[in-house]
Every structure is written in C-alpha cells, then in structure tokens.
C-alpha cells in the first residue's frame, strides 16, 4: 500500500520562476491498484512520480510504502523496490551494453553488486523465457547491444527490467508517448498484461484519455499540483471521454478547449 500524505513541492522558491508544482497532495493507493494518472501539461504528474521515486526532493509530506517511510531514502535505495519506465525510450536502458547485461543489472537490483562474474549463462534460460513473452523476437539476441534496438523494443525491455524483480510499486511516466501508435499499443498491452499477471501496484501517467479509461481500475486527474478527480471501479468502467472532459471543466473551472494537451490522440 502506498500512502502519500500532504506532499508539497515548489520549484525555484523565492525567484520570479517560483512554481508550486505539488500542492498538498494526499493519496492512498491500495495493494494491486492500477491507477492511471491524467492531467494537462505541467500539472505535476511527472514531479509526483519523481518525488515517489526519490529523484525530486520534497518540501514537505510523507511517503509510506508498505508500512515504511521512504521519503528520506535516496533514490538508488528506493530503486531496489520501485520499478520505473520513462517517456524517453533512450532513458531506461544502457545502449552500449548487451540485452543480457541490462537484464542482469535489473535482476540484481535488490542486492549489492559483488565480484561474482556477471556474464555467466546461469540465468540465460530465465531471460530467454521472459523475452519470449514480449513477442518481439529479442529472445535470440541476448548478446545484442541495446543501442541497436528500436524505440519500441527498448521500451519493452525497460518494462521487463522494471518488473523482472517483482517491484512493490511500478511507475510508468507516459512510457508510450514517444512511440508510433502501433508500437505504443503493443507496449501498453504488454504493460497491462505484466501488471495484471503479477498484481503490481502501479501508477501510470498517460496523455491519452481513452487509454486512461481503458486501462487500470482507478483514474486520477491532476491540475495545478492538486488531484482534482479520483474515480474507481464500476464508475470508472462506465466513463466516457466526453464525461471525463466535462468533469475536468467542472473541477478545474477551466474551459477544456483551451487545454488541448489533455485531448490526446
């Protein structure tokens, strides 16, 4: 269970560029919840995920994951139990290293690195089996450098790396936004499949309302650093894009047409 309590963050405080990006955000995410997160550009979605992962320092608030307070933990420590996939497919993998080396780094994320030979073939079978499930033909290419893969393949690999050790929390930040529509769909379905099979507690930021409605059991909408909508279960399943837009206008007091960023494709 993830408990966010009164998270606040202001960038560049005391300057002309001062910007309140998280405004007292509180949220309770239950074990196994798959939450899609939407909101206009600059609403604070990425900052929220970065704060949970530890790559942004909070001004105030507490983050409790499965009973322990993690808001003071360094990001690399949190990375042992929080899996992440970024928007940029280049971000999540090491291009100069083999597929196998990338996977082995991810697989050993919970432990300190030792002087054990990391390139042994002990785990090859397991890697091949996991790669097969991606259905992208990567299973025969353990010794291919990741830099030679396409954006979609790299993003799928990042997803596998983020989940190869069951994470306590999975954070996806517009992880299909940089892909072409067909690849985006493949990667999104893969994500949903992995999340469901492993019952992963997940926050998934998306700019696409349709996807936000179709995937996950819960939906939250952010606006100007606050959570302005939180819908789940049956109500979410019956949601339509039009209804969602109307809710946005009502909750934010802004005209939707002025916020094309939310429309998605």
């Amino acid at each position: 269970m993830l408990k966010l309590k009164n998270l606040s963050k202001t960038f560049n405080p005391g300057t002309v560029n001062e910007k309140l990006v998280l405004d007292n955000v509180s949220l309770l995410v239950n074990e196994g919840d798959f939450v899609s997160v939407i909101g206009s550009n600059g609403a604070g979605k990425s900052t929220l995920l970065n704060a949970i992962a530890g790559s942004v320092d909070l001004d105030a608030g507490s983050i409790e994951l499965n009973g322990r307070e993690i808001s003071q933990m360094p990001d690399v420590t949190r990375a042992r139990f929080i899996g992440r996939v970024f928007q940029d497919p280049m971000m999540g993998t090491a291009p100069g290293m083999w597929i196998k080396e990338n996977l082995s780094l991810a697989y050993r994320r919970t432990k300190r690195p030792t002087l054990r030979w990391a390139l042994s073939s002990d785990d090859d079978e397991m890697y091949i089996e996991k790669l097969e499930k991606l259905g992208l033909g990567l299973e025969g290419r353990l010794k291919t450098k990741v830099g030679l893969l396409s954006g979609g393949q790299r993003q799928a690999l990042t997803l596998l790396m983020a989940t190869i050790q069951q994470p306590e929390l999975l954070l996806l930040d517009e992880h299909t936004a940089a892909l072409d529509p067909k690849t985006a769909k493949t990667v999104l379905e893969l994500s949903a499949d992995i999340i469901e099979k492993n019952n992963l507690t997940t926050l998934m930021v998306t700019h696409n309302m349709r996807n936000a409605i179709d995937y996950g059991n819960r939906l939250i909408m952010m606006h100007e650093g606050r959570i302005i909508l939180d819908i789940e279960g049956e109500e979410k399943r019956r949601l339509s894009v039009a209804a969602l837009m109307e809710m946005f206008e009502r909750s934010s007091g802004e005209d939707f047409a002025s916020d094309s960023a939310l429309l998605g494709k």
Partner: protein, 313 residues
C-alpha cells in the same frame, strides 16, 4: 636515423606508458569522465615510490605504496565530483594542482629525485643473461604488467560491480533506476584508474627517467588520449570484447611512441614540439567525427534541394 635501437626503445616506452593509457581509458571511455587528476597522480606515483626505494623499501612494496596513494588521489577527485557536484574537469584540476605541492613535499622540496637504490629494473634485469639490452628488460616488464592489468580488468569489468561501473558510464539515469549507486561507482572507477596511473608513474621513473620529476605529469592526459585514439582507429571494432579493446589501446600506446621516435629523427623537429603535435593530433581525431557528421548532413540537404528542384521542373 631510425635504428633498431630507436624502435626497441620506443616499444619499451610504449608498453610502460600503456599502463597509464589503460588508466585513462577506464575514466575517459568506460566512465566518460575527463580526469585531469591523472597529471598529478602520475608524478605522485613516481615521487612516492622513488623516495621509498631510496629509503631502502623493496621496489614491489614501493610500487604498492604508489598505487595506494594514486587510489587516494582518485577518491578525492571522485568525492569532489559526486558529493560536492564539482564538474569533472575542475575536480581533476583541483586534485592535480594540490598534488603538485604535495609531490614537492614528498620529494623534500626538490624538483628531481634520482633513484639511488635497487629498482625493479635491476631486479628484473638480474634474471636475464648478463649482456641483455636494457630495452629488452623494459619490454618484457612492460608486457608482463600490461598482460596482468588487462587480465585483471577484463575479469573485474565482467563482474557485477564492473557491470555497474559500465552502466554508470553508459547511462547513469538507467543505472540509478535499477538501484546502482552511481556516485560510488564513479569514485571506484577513479580509484582504480588513478592507482594504475600512479603505478605507471612508478614504472616510468624506474625504467625510463631513472628519477622522479615533479613536472613529469604534464600532458599525460593528452598522451593517453592520443594513444587511445590511435588504438581505436587502427584496431578497435564494435563487436570486440573488452580485453581485445584494451589490447588495442596498448598497441595504440606503442605505436604512438614509435611514431614519435621516428618523427624525432627529422632534423627540423625539436623534442619540445612533441606536445604541440600530440595535442593537434588529438584535436583532429576528436573533431573528425563531428566534421564527418556535418558534411553528411550538408550532403543530405543538398540532395533534398536538388530533388525538390527536379520535382518543380
């Protein structure tokens, strides 16, 4: 005139300087860190070991002490960069400048300390027949050191820790996202690299200069880079394993010395011109890929323009 002795001497120098080149390779290529601190740890290794040897310490023990001091120097550069967020070049310069003062202290205020005791060179030389040339002794010693170092590094960079260092150099954001403590890996890599560079300083002092010189570090990073670039251009292929890449770099260091030795036989070239030539070579080698890319882009644009013109006609 280029003689067999010129070439032998160049190979000997090349193999000894290759130890430094491998150290520079680790920071510059594996980690992507431009470490000017090496210009301080190189004379540091020489100063520490020469002073110890003159004080009666066994050469091997003196070499180990030199490596330890180099390791500390590397750790300081690393901490300046990771903990205090000082840019890599500046962090290295700070270490280098401090080491200048420290090295003079170690050498009791002198700019040169001549070796006046048993060295590795005399010990190794004793194992060979009486009339063996000193170049051969240096070549064999240099080759053995390079072999051992490449072997150890090949193993080390294939371990979990080694993979973590490589990942840090390749994509630090990814490394952090899979729980690699990138700061620690940067410090670790600088420690390894600088201890090797200090060892190189110790070897050069014994086998080449016969003394420790406070200024012997000047330009070492450029010499290292030049050797790396020569090795990469001539030998390195993308699909090579790490050991072969390191051997290529060793070969680069040797070829660099041979080229320099040959160049020096030209009557109009002065020994003091070497730094200029080396720097220009490195600058050209680093500029070449950028120039190539720009030319390719321009050619592409021209082709596109032409096509558009054809379509109009």
């Amino acid at each position: 005139m280029i003689t067999a002795a010129t070439i032998q001497s160049a190979i000997a120098q090349g193999l000894l300087w290759a130890v430094l080149t491998l150290g520079v390779y680790l920071t510059y290529r594996v980690l992507g860190f431009s470490d000017l601190g090496c210009e301080g740890s190189f004379p540091l290794g020489a100063a520490v070991s020469v002073v110890l040897m003159n004080g009666g310490v066994h050469p091997l023990l003196a070499a180990a002490a030199a490596m330890l001091c180099g390791a500390i120097a590397g750790a300081i550069t690393g901490v300046l960069h990771t903990v205090f967020k000082i840019p890599d070049i500046l962090a290295g310069i700070l270490t280098m400048i401090s080491l200048y003062s420290i090295n003079i202290r170690i050498m009791s205020g002198k700019a040169t300390v001549t070796i006046a005791s048993d060295t590795l060179k005399s010990i190794v030389g004793g194992l060979f027949p009486q009339n063996t040339s000193s170049y051969i002794v240096s070549i064999v010693t240099g080759a053995i050191f390079c072999l051992i170092i490449v072997g150890v590094l090949y193993y080390y960079f294939g371990t979990e820790v080694g993979c973590s260092i490589r990942a840090t150099g390749d994509n630090a954001k990814m490394a952090r996202a899979v729980g690699v403590n990138t700061d620690m890996m940067i410090v670790l890599c600088l420690v390894i690299s600088n201890s090797m560079i200090a060892l190189a300083g110790n070897l050069i002092a014994q086998f080449d200069y016969g003394s420790a010189l406070v200024n012997m570090g000047q330009g070492t990073i450029v010499i290292g880079l030049a050797s790396i670039i020569i090795g990469e251009v001539l030998f390195v292929r993308d699909e090579m394993n790490f050991a072969l890449k390191m051997f290529s770099v060793v070969a680069g260091a040797v070829i660099y010395r041979i080229v320099i030795a040959c160049a020096l036989t030209l009557p109009w070239l002065k020994a003091t011109d070497l730094k200029l030539i080396t720097a220009v070579t490195v600058a050209i080698a680093l500029a070449l890929p950028v120039v190539k890319q720009k030319m390719a882009l321009r050619a592409k644009r021209r082709a596109a323009l032409k096509e558009a013109g054809n379509a109009e006609a």
